[in-house]
């Protein structure tokens, strides 16, 4: 019987010890966290063992939650991306069996590109920080020159930015107590909507695959809402996640109300 909480503690403790809390806050986002995991595991970035990295990634999210840190939606989006990549990797490679004419790209390829690109700018940011910074390393004259009081700040180009123009307009509008300029907000997909969608799907069918839940929507909000919805109904034990190892697809099925084996219940909450 595994206790995921202990497991996650061990997982990180061995390499970071007491300094772990500091690390938790240091990650700038899911890509940063993934880079860290890849380094820690000493694996080739071009051949990421998705299953292991995904597991550690999810454990990390759990740890964030335990430490009462906000698990930003961006981390959840990446979680669902990882799970999608994982399930795609588990699908039988049809192209190969049919002679490999149309070789499909490795499902991990895009992620690898993003990680490498991100790493590049992360380093660039570090280089920016060590440049002589005005107001930190170098200073300019700050005295008012009394004999030149009439001189106003000068500039090679105009000092007004477009942003200021829009902000000025917004200020004007904000001061008017009329609804004239009401703008229609974009549609929002809520987690509740997606929970309802998934549950009604399960009324009609015995089970749905993880992938098909994500296939309809392409927007970020949709993916986040869907992912959170799945997590939520799992937690409420309304559904069960199972994986048929011979195909590797993750299935979401209605939970059977009668006693679920406790052990199993913990492994697939």
């Amino acid at each position: 019987m595994t206790n995921p909480q202990q497991e996650s503690a061990n997982l990180f403790d061995d390499s970071h010890g007491a300094g772990y809390n500091v690390r938790v806050e240091a990650f700038e986002g899911p890509l940063d966290l993934l880079l860290h995991l890849i380094r820690k595991n000493e694996v080739d970035i071009y051949d990421i063992p998705i299953a292991a990295i995904t597991r550690q990634y999810l454990e990390y999210l759990e740890l964030m939650k335990e430490l009462n840190l906000d698990v930003a939606g961006d981390f959840l989006v990446m979680a669902s991306t990882l799970l999608q990549i994982k399930s795609r990797l588990l699908l039988p490679v049809q192209a190969d069996e049919e002679g490999g004419e149309e070789e499909e790209e490795d499902p991990r390829a895009e992620l690898v590109r993003r990680l490498i690109e991100y790493q590049k700018y992360k380093e660039a940011a570090q280089q920016l920080e060590v440049l002589p910074l005005l107001g930190r390393d170098a200073f300019i004259r700050s005295c008012e020159l009394p004999d030149l009081k009439e001189l106003q700040p000068v500039d090679d180009t105009s000092d007004v930015e477009l942003f200021e123009l829009v902000e000025a307009f917004r200020r004007v509008l904000a001061s008017i107590p009329v609804q004239t300029f009401h703008e229609v907000g974009s549609e929002q997909i809520t987690i509740a909507d997606r929970i309802n969608d998934i549950l009604s799907l399960l009324q009609e069918r015995d089970g749905v695959t993880f992938e098909e839940l994500f296939s309809e929507g392409t927007t970020r909000d949709y993916l986040i809402a869907t992912f959170l919805a799945v997590l939520e109904i799992c937690k409420l034990k309304m559904v069960k996640l199972t994986q048929n190892s011979s195909f590797g697809t993750i299935w979401i099925t209605r939970a059977v109300l009668d006693a679920v084996d406790a052990r199993e219940g913990e492994e697939s909450p």
Binding site: D70, A72, L151, V154, L162, V166, F169, L173, E183
Partner: protein, 197 residues
């Protein structure tokens, strides 16, 4: 060491907002002797004394300050003369209203801003940032205003369609949707899912 101390003193006087007195320098440079600081300051004064440098070090209001050479005042005034238009908040607001709501009448602008805009409209017209487009077909036939090519150039805009919309700016400040969803427990790896509803 005096060389470096002199350099530090030079930096301090240059950066300080007000004239720096010897006392002030001594309190800032606590690790140095007063006599050394005084010596550095005197060397510095001597350096700036010689020849017709553009920056002079003057003793003023009980302290020391760098100033521009007074003989150059005529040149320095040209700095401000060639200054591009600088916008006050009210000009910017008026310009923004015209940009986003053109064609627009003065009465409409004043309704939005709640204040008289006659003077500002005149200035904007003089600066060629706005122009009179014609007269509105309503009683009184008021003038209607719009922005000019110069306006586009000022903001490096290709055309009016390149103006950002309000919504685009507001969206920047909007927290992403998922943060509005309140507190949702993450259930991925939890062992103790105790919400047995």
């Amino acid at each position: 060491m005096t060389g470096n101390l002199k350099s530090v003193v030079e930096s301090l006087i240059f950066v300080a907002e007000t004239p720096l007195s010897l006392d002030r320098l001594v309190s800032i440079l606590e690790e140095h002797e007063r006599s050394d600081i005084r010596a550095a300051l005197e060397e510095l004064l001597a350096d700036y004394e010689q020849s017709g440098r553009g920056i002079v070090l003057v003793e003023v209001a009980g302290g020391y300050q760098f100033r521009s050479r007074p003989e150059h005042a005529d040149y320095l005034k040209r700095l401000s003369k060639t200054r591009p238009p600088k916008f006050g908040q009210s000009s910017l607001e008026t310009l923004a209203i015209i940009a986003y709501r053109q064609p627009i009448t003065r009465a409409e602008i004043e309704y939005l801003r709640g204040v008289d805009c006659g003077g500002i409209l005149k200035t904007l017209l003089e600066k060629k940032l706005i122009k009179i487009l014609g007269k509105k077909d309503v009683p009184g036939r008021p003038l209607i205003y719009g922005t000019t090519r110069e306006f586009l150039e000022l903001f490096s805009l290709k055309n009016l369609a390149s103006l950002p919309t309000l919504k685009e700016i507001q969206d920047l400040a909007q927290p992403p949707v998922f943060e509005e969803q309140g507190e949702l427990p993450l259930a991925v790896a939890t062992g103790g899912g105790d919400t047995g509803e």
